[in-house]
Symmetry: C2
């Protein structure tokens, strides 16, 4: 099977003009078929402040009321997405911007209200990926760029976690490609020893992960990311790479950057 | 050749929730292949006011400074475009949103500064339409929905007139389809007598136009629209229809609404 890179870049890179440009340059250098998913960043909060829209959070998750939904649809789906697409076009990548509504490419449902009402937050339907359209675009040489928004098929846009969009797309496209799911973050990779920045674990499988869990040297905050990585792999993704956005350029072959998680 | 409808709807419809819904319902009922181009509307001005961004106009044209460009990229490319796409999806049309940057589908150049500096306003390049991609999407059953923004291929988004985008797309796609270019506006059509709302001219060709010019019964403000229509027809478009957005549903065969302009 042909390779496909599904790459998620977070808000911390989006917010920094130089870091974003460096990342996009690295994205250009990826020769495989590729999909980019971008987070939102603080720009929505700063524009929201100027519009008098309060950012509300419960347990670290943004509550999306109607005004906030309009805000993120504007900022993530418009400003951030189009500026990334235009920048990639200038660098020779035929990027095409998407929210889930475009081409019905990613459907979700409004998160059910239990203890907390998250408002217009979307949970993606696993069967909600228009894989045929995505494949057609990739085969035509296009690089889809996703904003973290889906729709429910009934006219409602929904604010959605970019990590989840990335893993859902990666799993769905595993039917057609050998998928490498890449999460760009602020460290060089997963540290074998949380007190040593140079202790990046180059390759991680379930056996080693269990050993590391037992020796309690992993940073606790990274555990959900690793669990999600193994979940994606169990669902068909070939491998998950976690590392620094600007190292993305050194992705070729065995000489990969960051931590490569596989079965 | 197969038919293609290229339909432009203006800001006055976009600004009115009921009028927009009525128009979209009519758009759904068009059975031919179709492309929608939407204007901006006053929502950018009202959000701009809240953000402290002044709307500057010279001779009725918006001056697009950097803050205004960010504003229209957010509002037209994000909020307006995505809400239209999601609404069409809910009505069963497989809509897909575009700015000119997406898939490099529409390139322009920054308007040269002569007496007036229009800022980040784009003049479309006639050869700047990615007709292959557009054709591929139409053949796949998708309905492209354009926000009035293009890019210059060097990373710069540009604010662009929606009427011009519509006529440029219509002319470019005439190589593959029998194109009807439709301008939705606030009258039933072109009035033979400006003082009589019921004097809609059903069919207009160059000969009749010359006669009407000679008898001076046309509303002066409509003359540029008619001149542009004939220009599009001379460049390959089969016919141009001008009429009320909500009448769009009655488009079938000879029993068309509004004023049909042809050679």
């Amino acid at each position: 099977m042909e390779k496909l890179f599904v790459i998620k870049v977070g808000g911390n890179v989006i917010d920094n003009k130089d870091a974003l440009d460096e990342f996009l340059q690295a994205f250009v250098s990826v020769n495989e078929k590729k999909i980019l998913i971008h987070g939102g960043g603080k720009i929505a909060t700063s524009i929201g402040d100027r519009l008098g829209i309060d950012s509300k959070y419960i347990n670290g998750r943004r509550i999306t009321d109607e005004a906030t939904l309009d805000l993120v649809t504007m900022v993530y789906g418009g400003l951030v997405n189009k500026n990334i697409v235009a920048a990639l076009q200038a660098k020779g990548v035929n990027a095409i911007g998407f929210t889930g509504a475009d081409g019905n490419i990613l459907r979700g449902v409004k998160r059910p209200v239990k203890e907390i009402d998250y408002g217009f937050a979307g949970d993606i339907e696993e069967t909600g990926v228009a894989t045929d359209l995505l494949k057609q675009l990739l085969e035509s040489g296009l690089a889809p760029v996703f904003a973290p928004l889906v729709h429910n098929g009934e006219g409602q846009m929904l604010n959605t976690n970019a990590d989840t969009i990335a893993s859902t797309l990666a799993v769905a496209m595993s039917a057609y490609y050998e998928v490498r799911l890449i999460y760009c973050f602020e460290k060089k990779g997963i540290l074998g020893n949380v007190e040593d920045e140079n202790s990046v674990v180059k390759n991680l499988d379930k056996k080693l992960y269990q050993e590391m869990l037992d020796s309690r040297k992993l940073f606790e905050g990274i555990l959900p990311k690793i669990e999600n990585a193994f979940k994606a792999i169990d669902a068909g993704v070939k491998e998950v790479l976690i590392g620094d956005a600007k190292d993305l350029v050194n992705n070729a072959g065995k000489n990969h950057f960051g931590t490569l998680i596989s079965n």
